[in-house]
């Protein structure tokens, strides 16, 4: 069934524990709008996005945040081991009508707390324009 929980004492700061690439399209934005209840039209209408001065239709920040933690969840084998997750939205992800966008996630060990049985995993999340999430940190329980 699910993979074994990673052992804390086998980890070292800086170590890459997971990485993945996600191709998203306009359909992904429509799906996320429905699932989350966020129907802001800047996430599906080019004219409205451009009308408020944006470079195009944007992915929901919360979609990017939701996707970015998934490689860590897969590494943990259990979404319930995420005990704290925070990000800064530093740059929007523009999703083209035809080509969509690609979000790349690299997850590294930031800090280890063997007493608490916890690790801080730092995410580097990029799209075409560069880094899209700042200070993206996931605290996980490995106990």
């Amino acid at each position: 069934m699910s993979a074994a929980t990673p052992a804390l004492d086998a980890l070292a700061p800086g170590q890459v524990v997971a990485q993945a690439e996600f191709a998203i399209g306009r359909d992904s934005l429509v799906r996320y709008a429905g699932a989350s209840g966020d129907f802001n039209p800047i996430h599906y209408r080019d004219d409205i996005a451009e009308g408020v001065g944006l470079p195009g239709v944007l992915a929901h920040g919360m979609l990017t945040m939701g996707i970015a933690v998934q490689p860590v969840v897969d590494w943990l084998g259990d979404p319930g081991r995420v005990i704290d997750y925070g990000v800064r939205f530093t740059r929007p992800v523009v999703v083209g009508p035809v080509d969509g966008a690609t979000i790349t996630v690299v997850a590294r060990v930031g800090m280890l707390d063997s007493e608490a049985g916890e690790a801080r995993i730092d995410l580097t999340v990029t799209a075409a324009a560069g880094t899209v999430l700042g200070k993206a940190q996931v605290r996980v329980s490995l106990g």
Binding site: G34, A35, I67, V87, R88
Partner: protein
Amino acid sequence: MNPELQGRIFAPTAPYLVGREKVREFARAVFATSPLNFDPAAARAAGYGDLVAPPTFPVVVQESTLAQLLAEPDAGIDFSRVVHGEQKFTYTRPIVAGDELTATLSITSIKTLGGNAMVTAESSIADAAGDHVVTAVSTLVVRGDA
């Protein structure tokens, strides 16, 4: 943007019942593949009562608290000027299908910088027994008149 909003605590939202299909729908939307999000037998084998929601699922419950804030007559927030600056979730335990969740919003900080305002909105989410499940903190930037 009304600075007197700082410290205001809103009425708890109506209970939100976490449905199994909603967990699956949300999980698919964030590209989740964990069996614990989709298969109740896998979730039970891992020690949970039912499907486990993805880490950012509380946003679904938090949504109604942000609606409370925007609807507050004296808040003076124009939604079209709101940009999501930061987001954080701090868990006591994971959300599982079957949970009945209530969110209580408090405005913990309002800072003005230039013409913009930075609002920190904290939604404390508890289960039917009143026990804390997760706190969702959003920092919203409200752009002033250009």
